[in-house]
Structures are given as C-alpha cells and as structure tokens.
C-alpha cells in the first residue's frame, strides 16, 4: 500500500459506498481531492528605511486590511466563508497570517473547494535603522469530492498566492513610507 493510500485503502468498500451515497444525494463525499499547492511564488525581500518595530506594527495593521479586501470581494471570488487567523511573535519579527477559504462550485475552473493560504512576514534589522522584510507564501487546497483536476485548477491556487503577495507588498510599502520611511530601492 503506498503512502497515497492511507485515507482510503483501509476501507475501500466503505469509500465506494460513500461515493455511491454522495452521488445519489448529489453532495460531496468530504474534502478529499487535494489538488495543488503553490510554494513561495514571490518570496520577496524588501528593505525599508524604518525601524523594525515600525515595520512590524505596519504589517500587523495591514493584515486586517487583507481581511477587509477578502470580505469586500466575497462575491467576485465566490467565497462562501473564510476564517482568518494571525499569529505574531515580536521577538522573532514573525507575523503569520493564514486564512481558510471555502468557495462554492460554479466557476469555470473550480468545483467547491477549500483553500488554505498561509503568508509569513519576517521583519528583522538590516543595520543603519533599516529593516528587511521577507514575505513567503504557502498555499494548499483541495476539492470537495474526489474527481480529476480540471484544466486551470493549479492556477486557481497559484493565483491566490500571487493575489496575497503582490498587492499587499505595494500597499505595505506605501503604509510604511507614510509612517516611518519608505522602501529602499
């Protein structure tokens, strides 16, 4: 039995029955069909002319606006619900912002899905009152029902990563520039 077999091979008969019942009821059999994960598509590092504390605080404040943006675009992005969570450790200069997104079926490339987007901001001193911030992304998603990937499925999760990476970077640079200093070219 391969590693890929754990969730189901121990009880193939049960899984088959589940699929049959799900088909009859027209519902999914639970989150099983994981599809894609995009690792660090941007992985950017920016140096700011500001103290580490100031950048750290700006990021924390900015994270809230990401949630507001998601809320405002809920319909366009076909979001049924999302659960955001922020973890911060000031001593490390690390902020983890993670959200689980539940989306409905119906888009050209997506059946109903769960997507987990995990962004890490790591702010640390870069000397001479400057700070260096590295942003990394880990995204992970799966479809509700076991089914083959549709064309474009990988791009769907990948786009989340880009969406969570590029736009906030620009806005954060502006926020830091307005408060304590700008991004160093």
């Amino acid at each position: 039995m391969s590693l890929s077999c754990w969730p189901r091979c121990s009880s193939v008969a049960l899984a088959m029955a589940t699929i049959a019942v799900a088909a009859v009821l027209g519902q999914s059999a639970g989150p099983q069909g994981e599809v894609a994960r995009a690792a660090d598509p941007c992985g950017s590092t920016v140096v700011y002319a500001a103290a580490t504390d100031a950048v750290f605080d700006a990021v924390l404040a900015y994270v809230k606006t990401i949630e507001d943006t998601l809320e405002a675009n809920r319909k366009t992005l076909q979001i049924k619900w999302f659960k955001p969570k922020t973890e911060a450790d000031k001593a490390s200069g690390v902020i983890v912002h993670r959200f689980v997104i539940r989306r409905g079926a119906g888009s050209a490339v997506s059946p109903a899905s769960y997507e987990v987007v995990n962004r890490t901001f790591w702010v640390r001193p870069a000397g001479s009152g400057r700070s260096r911030m590295t942003t990394t992304i880990r995204a992970y998603g799966w479809w509700d029902a076991p089914k083959p990937m549709r064309p474009g499925s990988h791009e769907q999760v990948y786009n989340w990563s880009l969406w969570g990476c590029e736009a906030p970077e620009l806005k954060l640079a502006a926020a830091v520039a307005a408060g304590a200093g700008g991004a160093v070219p």
């Binding site: 039995m1 391969s2 590693l3 890929s4 077999c5 754990w6 969730p7 189901r8 091979c9 121990s10 193939v12 899984a15 088959m16 699929i19 049959a20 059999a29 989150p31 099983q32 069909g33 994981e34 994960r37 690792a39 660090d40 992985g43 590092t45 140096v47 659960k83 969570k85 973890e87 450790d89 001593a91 490390s92 690390v94 983890v96 993670r98 689980v100 769960y114 987990v116 995990n118 890490t120 790591w122 640390r124 870069a126 000397g127 400057r130 260096r132 590295t134 990394t136 880990r138 992970y140 799966w142 029902a145 076991p146 089914k147 083959p148 160093v184 070219p185």
Partner: protein
C-alpha cells in the same frame, strides 16, 4: 441486456469506483487546517529533548534561530512560534510523486532551539500522535518513518542555511549588495 453485458458493466462500475477512490487522495489532517490548528497539542520540553531527531550546530542561538526560520518560513505553516522559549510548532505540506501521480502529505512537528555553552542544539519532534484514529497498523509505521525522513531532511536544510553564507561567501556578498545591505 444479457448476462455477460451486465457483468461487464458491473466490472466497469467497480473499476471506475476504484479509480475515483484512487483520485481522492487527500491530506489526512485537513480538519486541523479548518480549525487553525487549535487542537494541536503543545509538546513538552522533556519530550522534545528526548527526540532522536536532534543536531548541534557550531553557531550562537541568534544565527541558529534565524537559519531555522529562513527554512521554515519558506516550507511550513507556522502554527505557534516563540523566540523567547525557542519553540516552533509547524506543519510542512509536501508533495510526493507516487506511481506517476502527485500526492500530498502533512508533516507536523514541534521544534526546540536550545542554547548551549558555545553552540546551539535543535530538537525536532514529529507529532505522529496526530495521526492516531486516522490511520493504523502498517500505514501508521509508514507515516512515522516518513516523518523521520522528512525531519532529517529539514535538519540538513537548517545546516546548509546556517553554513552556506560562509561557505560561498561571494554569492552571499552579492546577494547582500543587491538587497541593499
């Protein structure tokens, strides 16, 4: 419909069901993502110190902590982190190519970075108990073995991260210059 056609359709249906089951590969621990890992227990310091996955680095605490973070921020979902305590709980989600098909697995760990007199030790504890009630028997042993292998690979990456800057100075100098350091 004659008997042979009926039997053929039954076989086809059975084969299709098996294919669907095979395609339905998923992370076993996905429910932890949904609850933001709140149910992931905090490993005790004693259990961390008892882990066989450990490595001592000839570097101070700061450098070691930064090397660990540099690797984990790129690879893992950080669940809990405290530099003061030297503790990180994280999940790596990695893809495995099995039988020409990409599959995924969650690798949950607790990590402790501990100062010593002149160097620093990193302990890595696979949180295999999270798989309890999810899988059992031979599969459980495969999971535990995979967790150890992945842990060893992470330790290698910590070491490379820690030493690469000195080993390939010309590259790190160029990177520092381009980053405005």
């Amino acid at each position: 419909m004659n008997a042979s056609t009926g039997f053929g359709r039954l076989l086809l249906g059975l084969a299709l069901s098996l294919v669907l089951v095979q395609l339905g590969s998923a992370g076993v621990l996905f429910r932890l993502f949904e609850t933001h890992f709140e149910t992931v227990p905090e490993a005790t310091v004693d259990s961390l110190r008892g882990s066989a996955l450990r490595r001592t680095f000839t570097a101070d605490y700061e450098k070691t902590w930064d090397a660990v973070l540099a690797v984990l921020t790129q690879q893992a979902f950080l669940v809990r982190i405290s530099k003061e305590k030297g503790r990180i709980t994280f999940f790596d989600v990695d893809g495995l190519l099995i039988a020409k098909r990409f599959d995924y697995m969650e690798f949950p760990y607790a990590l402790l970075v501990e100062r010593r007199t002149t160097d620093t030790t990193v302990y890595l504890l696979p949180l295999a108990d999270l798989y309890e009630n999810q899988i059992s028997g031979n599969d459980r042993r495969k999971v535990e073995s995979a967790l150890v292998r992945k842990g060893e690979a992470l330790m290698e990456q910590f070491e490379v991260q820690l030493t690469a800057g000195d080993r390939w100075r010309r590259f790190s100098d160029a990177a520092a210059a381009s980053a405005g350091r």
